[in-house]
Amino acid sequence: MYVITVCGMGFGTSLMLLMELQSIGKKHNIKVSGEALDMSSFKGKKADLIVASSEIAKTIDGSEIPVLSIKNILDKQEIEDKFLQFFNQNKKE
């Protein structure tokens, strides 16, 4: 699946989040590709999922793409749980 991660600049925490999601994907055999973007340039992009810290996520509204809001971006468990939950829900549909 294609994931967009978003942060203020588009190369700091968003890149960290994307790398984390890719290693989670590897662990669970889910192919994760995507790109890290800043708040001004993610709009209009196509993706299966947007992932961002809760501070950034709350400024993303009206997006057609589902948004995963991560409270603590340093908490690998939180990222993994939320990501897998999303993945499993969408698999069933």
Binding site: G8, G12, T13, L15
Partner: protein, 419 residues
């Protein structure tokens, strides 16, 4: 042969080659290697174009500012400087970036400081900064690369190590470290906020209006500040010069266009940074995980924002106020430091978080205010140390406090040699 030397003196190709080697070392698939290498090269070329836009937009502005206030006005912005000197110092910059990282790995492997500095845009800008400072001391080529790489490698573990006791107060553990060339100023102001504040009253108990959240989008805030800065300058400048620079167009349109062009330059530059870091950093991270067991990644400043979201807003607003005060006070020195939004925003927000962790609301307010003021005053006072006009750069100066401290040490070390 000429092709090879030309190839290696083109910065985009050197960085492309680094990405290529990194991707190969990580045994990525053929398509990933090709894609990653091309994106890195494109990213680097975009970065240089962005720097060109910034430098050009500041030429008329600098003329206007000098005419209006009879002073030099500068904005603190590292990456624009780093990208602008690539035409002359590309070899030094790229090799300091790479060898500095390898020295960082070595130090993390053999010492107790397990930090791996992974904030790529800062590794790039500091590599370029050391190349510039050494070049101006008359040192270049491989000697400069050797000295610069050692400085880069050593500072990559020392600054995170100095910050770690304070990071622990915010995050509660040692899982991540602070990899940002402003960390010292942030923990110092946070510590001061702790001394003068009251930890029991946290910023996070406050209800803060979300009305101003749109300002967290860098391009918006920067545009507003730049229009104000150019506008105020234009009011005080000679109308004749203004109409000459605007080519007879309406001064209002000229002000908006000059400010917007500067912001566009920053956005283009950041897009380039984004493209080449997206390839380089995962490669660096992968290599470090293989070589250094128990490595602690030293990461960019926003990782701390979620620990106290309200404190980031308070810290940033206070830093802007402190920065504007410093703009006026700095006019007493040799240079006026204009509100440098990116630095004030990212460091101010973190100062708020650190101030709050150690001293609550009052701590966050004091930390942000002191950070904004001291940050810009540091730039003003250090400005005479490095003259960038040799590279055709006017209106810009270095913006990373940690790196500025290192420049000072480099200049002191050079004194006995008359450099």
């Amino acid at each position: 042969m000429k092709f090879i030397t030309d190839f290696l003196s083109t910065p985009a190709f050197i960085i492309g080659l680094v990405a290529l080697l990194g991707l190969l070392a990580l045994r990525k698939s053929g398509s990933d290697v090709v894609k990653g290498t091309i994106k890195t090269i494109l990213g680097f070329l975009i970065l240089q174009q962005g720097a060109g836009i910034i430098v050009n937009s500041l030429i008329p502005f600098s003329q206007l500012f000098e005419n209006a206030f009879h002073l030099t006005g500068i904005i603190a912005e590292d990456n624009a400087i780093a990208a602008a000197v690539q035409t002359v110092l590309s070899k030094e910059t790229s090799f300091i970036l790479v060898f500095g990282f390898l020295i960082n790995l070595l130090l993390a492997r053999v010492t107790k400081m397990k930090y791996i500095f992974l904030t790529g845009h800062m590794m790039f800008s500091s590599a370029a900064t050391y190349a510039i400072v050494l070049d101006l001391m008359g040192i270049n080529g491989w000697t400069a690369i050797a000295i610069g790489s050692v400085i880069q490698g050593v500072t990559s573990v020392i600054f995170p190590a100095l910050a770690q006791p304070f990071v622990r107060k915010v995050t509660g553990n040692d899982n991540v470290a602070f990899g940002f060339w402003g960390s010292s100023l942030i923990w110092m102001t946070g510590w001061l906020g702790g001394k003068l504040g009251n930890k029991s009253q946290s910023t996070e108990d406050l209800k803060i209006s979300e009305k101003f959240d749109f300002l967290k989008e860098m391009s918006i805030l920067m545009s507003i500040v730049m229009i104000l800065v150019v506008g105020v300058t234009a009011i005080f400048a000679d109308p004749q010069l203004l109409s000459q620079l605007s080519g007879g167009k309406s001064p209002i349109l000229f002000i908006i266009l000059t400010a917007a062009t500067f912001v566009v330059g920053i956005l283009v530059l950041l897009q380039g940074v984004r493209m080449f870091l997206a390839e380089l950093i995962p490669a660096f991270k992968g290599i470090s995980e293989k070589i250094v067991p128990g490595a602690i990644p030293a990461l960019d400043v926003p990782i701390f924002y979620n620990f106290a979201p309200n404190a980031t807003t308070i810290g940033f607003i206070m830093a802007m106020i402190g920065g504007v005060i410093a703009t006026f006070v700095s006019s007493l020195t040799s240079v006026v430091v204009l509100p440098s939004v990116i630095g004030l925003f990212f460091m101010g927000a973190a100062a708020g978080v650190f101030g709050n962790a150690m001293g609550g609301r009052r701590g966050a307010i004091i930390a942000g205010l002191v950070l904004g003021f001291t940050y810009q005053m540091l730039v003003a006072l250090a400005f005479p140390l490095v003259d960038l006009t040799k590279y055709g750069i006017a209106g810009l100066w270095f913006s990373s406090p940690d790196v500025i401290f290192v420049i000072l040490l480099m200049k002191l070390a050079g004194l006995p040699f008359g450099k």
